[in-house]
Symmetry: C2
């Protein structure tokens, strides 16, 4: 249903140069996790899917907007197995069409049920700023070698957690949830986001190339400050820094760092950290009041699917 509603979002047709990239970015697929969480959170609190739909689409529009702009900043040519919008249409076009997506997201937010519009708008805009802050910290980490685990969690909480958390909270608000339930679902979304990012980082090194869709080891080549890199740096008595200081070929660099990760068991421990946040997500659900207890199962299933995902 969400896929169909995304396809039927009413975009102007002209000028085509502005709106074609918007359509392209939205049609790229993806898990549609954010709109799904919003709709299910609304249902869980007694609302309807139709009531949640404008907000659900706003969240998906916003998410894709961030991907369009991130791919310019990161010079990423590939997104979901296709050329990124920046690669396909040029970075100037991706800037402008991305701006239009952010404005469309605001338009969609303004279409939520009138009784909820003020609160949803506030949560949405606050979330957007957090996502930018997370992206900013992520960028700043690129030129630092002393990022702490706390800073890493702050960054992924902003960059990844805030949007999943807001999706749950917004759905709950539209479903007219009591504040404790809205908080509980928001906490669920945050923990899910933290676990999601830990799993993502783990897959980047230990995933299966055939299913992951990106080359394995990109984070190591780029020396990205992940849970595993930060932990390995702290525990390897300078060995990680020695490897990174060498002028190694990418494949050799990946091989040596992966071997170090294996020796220090940081892969398993990263996976365990993800599992811990998955458990916290499940635990948060205990504080939510579901209009029908069977609606809780969706949120449990999402965690199970995320925990075992290979893509």
């Amino acid at each position: 249903m969400i896929e169909r509603r995304i396809a039927s979002i009413d975009l102007p047709s002209r000028p085509a140069g502005l709106y074609e990239p918007v359509r392209y970015a939205l049609e790229g697929g993806g898990k549609r996790l954010r709109p799904l969480l919003a709709v299910q959170a609304c249902l869980a609190c007694g609302g309807t899917a139709d009531e949640a739909m404008p907000a659900a689409l706003a969240l998906e529009m916003f998410h894709n907007f961030t991907l369009v702009h991130d791919d310019i900043m990161d010079r990423s040519d590939v997104r979901r197995g296709r050329p990124s919008a920046a690669a396909r249409f040029g970075s100037n076009q991706a800037i402008l069409s991305g701006d239009a997506m952010l404005t469309f997201a605001s338009c969609l937010v303004s279409q939520v049920p009138a009784r909820a519009v003020a609160e949803v708008t506030a949560v949405f805009n606050d979330m957007a700023l957090r996502v930018y802050e997370g992206q900013q910290l992520d960028t700043e980490f690129e030129t630092r070698k002393n990022v702490t685990i706390d800073e890493y969690f702050e960054m992924i909480g902003l960059k990844t957690g805030a949007l999943l958390s807001a999706a749950c909270r917004i759905g709950a608000i539209i479903g007219d949830a009591d504040p404790a339930t809205a908080d509980a679902l928001a906490e669920y979304g945050m923990e899910l986001g933290l676990a999601f990012q830990l799993r993502d980082d783990w897959l980047d090194t230990f995933g299966d190339h055939a299913t992951f869709g990106k080359p394995i080891g990109g984070d190591i080549v780029n020396e990205k400050e992940t849970w595993m890199l930060i932990t390995a740096r702290r525990e390897s008595h300078g060995e990680l820094d020695s490897i990174l200081a060498e002028d190694l070929e990418p494949q050799e660099k990946i091989r040596q760092v992966t071997r170090l990760y294996e020796r220090l068991r940081v892969g398993e421990r990263c996976d365990a950290a993800a599992a811990e946040h998955h458990a916290l997500a499940i635990a948060a659900l205990d504080h939510a009041k579901f209009s029908d207890e069977s609606l809780k199962q969706f949120f449990v299933d999402v965690v199970d699917r995320m925990a075992s995902r290979n893509i």
Copy 2:
């Protein structure tokens, strides 16, 4: 008062890398015409300056956001006599901080008086899309040699007129104007915008270097599709195209095209076209009902100042 309120917009301080460029862009000065129009339109309809202020600041925030992103796309290093945000902080930072400005604009829009928030939000988001559409057309014109005068007016109506028009309409809505007055003030803003852009294009060729703040003749060097260039192409029986086809030094190109403009009197006629739209702006005021007739004078004065401006 507007300047003071802009300076006191409550921006987060951290991460500084994200918010410092926002502050920088806002502090660059400028005429503050858009917030002024919104406040005065609100006063003209019987509202207060305080009621109009969040929307006024949203409009100024939005305007500066478009400049930040435009300067990336146009690779403009200078804005208002200082380095552009893109030049000062890099284009990646300018993308992200610009995004934050657009979200801040939405935050400010949500703070208008509750009775007006739905209508103001709709006008604001609709305006934003028009501005992007205008920017898109402007970009597309760069690779075309057959732009018509009608297309030119469509483009400047979107890129420049829509924002001034929305500033007036939003002020009127907040001042609780009757629909005819809101329409009249919106029309005033649109005509003011068209005249503003015509004057801007004229100044680019015939302005005084000492006061204009940009090098004279930039539009000619870039073969920008302005009212003057389009008119000269249409009336010069191929002479304009011949000049542009030559591989001339910039100063020589400016000299030859300016001489052609003088021969065809397109400079005076562009100025006359601006005057015509100034007159239409004044005429539109006749259809507005002012809460106090003396408040009309501000709008007349703006036109007079714009008509004679050299910067």
